[in-house]
Amino acid sequence: MDFHLSEEQEMIRDSLVGCYSQCNSDELLVQKYDREPALDDELWRAQLALGLTGVMVPESLGGLGMDLLTLAVAAEVSASYAVATPMEYQCLAAWAIACSDSQTLIETWLQPIVLGEKIATLALSDEGAEGGPDSLSTHDGATVSGIRRFVPFAAEADIAVLTLGDGKLGLVELRHDSVVREAVAPLDRSRPVCHLRLDSTPVVIFPEALAQRLYDAALILHAASAFGAAKRCLDMSVEYAKVREQFGQLIGQFQALKHQLAHMALDTEPARFLYWYAAHCWDIETEDARQMAALCKAHLGEVAVDTARAAVEVHGGIGFTWELPIHIWLKRAMADSAIYGTPARQRARSAELARW
């Protein structure tokens, strides 16, 4: 019985913190955020250099053979520095291909993705949303047509792993003529999105039915990412309360503000362990793993938005400006909360998965 990260997981976490705190310090981040939303090349190369892409690929296929918990911890750290790369999607795409049971997929795509020669994203459906699972369909098993909304980093990605209903996954090349990537102004400029329009686009169907596992893993990573945003907002607020003075005293001495911060901490701090737990359940494939993925996505999404909003209030007027990066985490939290199904939607799924 040991509910701690392993030394290896802590090492990865620490090396990411080391990397991001240099390349994405608050000052640099604020500058970057003013540019057109795009993949951050510098950080992408840094992540590739750390060998993150293969974190969940079996060692037999040249990966690190680690688990989702490891990737989730990495996602938390990336979120807390608002890193603008598709690393989480790249890693899950690599995992799915590695587990696809298709020699073609593995031979064609695994190494280019692990080496970062190709960029992969996920185009998953929020099962309950407008234009749901049926909006992408394949009749012949060789081509796919339809729309998928809000695909992250689709403008830069070379390939996308799609959910196609009935647990099926497919892989399409996004540079194919039949693919239209419709630009969308993203709320979260650290994760640009496009709508994908496919018209008889060639697709490779995965032999293994991995769609549910992939979807659940994505939920957990977004929960971890939401936690990273929430924790960062909490920490910034606490620091601010320790330096900002009003009425001749630190605002952190006002009891009302103290209690606001305590409530933010009460929401946020225990929630970390929920995403750890959900990732662990996914890793060891417990019976309630699917439910825990839904529950933790719902819980963390809501906690993160609430905490980020509270952090804006703690900062007063300055919290509403573009110059203070707090809005960056608010927007990330809002995006993490909404993508692949809002908190209410995920709670409904959780209830169903719990057989209520």
């Binding site: 407008e130 009302a256 007063g316 509403f320 809002t342 939607r345």
Partner: protein, 387 residues
Amino acid sequence: MDLELSESHLAFQEEVENFLVSNWRSDLAKDPEAISVFRRTATGAGYLYRNVPEIYGGSGQSPDVLKAKIIRESFAGVRAPREMPGVGMMMLVPTLLDCGSELQKQSFIPRTLTGEYRWAQGYSEPGAGSDLASLRTKGELVDGHWLINGQKIWTTMAHKCTHMFALVRTEPDAGKHAGISYLLFELDQPGVTIRPLKQMNGDKEFCEVFFEDARAPADWIVGERGEGWRVSKSTLKHERNSVGAASGSKDLFDKLVKQARKTTLNERPAIEDPLVRDRLAKIQGHVMAHLCAGYYQLSCDAGGADAGIVGLMNKMNTTVIGHEIAAAASEVIGDSNLQMPDYKVGRPGAEKWVNQQMLSLAAALGGGTSNINLNIIAERGLGLPRD
């Protein structure tokens, strides 16, 4: 209890509506000259600038909150121009009427009413937010002019204004509140630098304003030296718009209901989702209580009575309802939360509620306003001891 208008107010309503039929057509809305003419006519008829005496360009009517409400609603109904918006009319004019010199009234009020002078408010500073009286911008009287040095922040739309009224520390040796004066000056001068602040939603509504030896004539001080704090508090002898905040909340709520009818959630209109219905009905309870409390306040105001503690609650209620609407909206619009509304490429869809979610935060801000509001409700409303 009677929520209908009295005979005389019904007659007034008819009069206003007739006036609008004769004097306003919606195609004039883009013609600045026609708008000016309309404002002058409406003032002449006693419908605008009711609390400003005629000699300063107003219509000098006795206060009547119900007439004010009728005018507001009738004008809004046909989108006719109302009084010049902004802090000039809202804050400076009542202050000048209360504490200004005759010369100040004559020079500033009429041109403020016509829109020739547009005022920025210079109160907050980076180190003086909710604790406004700790402000440090300095004013010295040198050779018949005030020399102003320092910085203001959160000045709404300063980059579109011609003048500023500001609180400035002119008596450095006096107490915290007693050292402050209320000065007026022009913004278009070498000593003033205006830097718009970008907000989280991309808009630039607020500015920082920097002063390096900015100048104001010696007699552009309202009240005496060191009286600025009192002057800035001079009560707004206004026809108070006590239902204003509540009906704003109600409009926003109604829009969300409309959105929920249009948006698909789990393959049906969102409005049919039991969770959305419950959430909206819960908000509607707050909205309606807030609105009914507004009716009560209006009724008190009309009778010259004090509405008591609910009169202190409009700001907080609006803030709280704004947050609730933001949370409900984020569930209604689903994945549209991922998109930033872009008003440049046309009317945005459901993602416009992303902007509302951000704006609902602004209501609570301005330096710990909610906490200060809660203190006021507790201390002035409930009579709890001060800290």
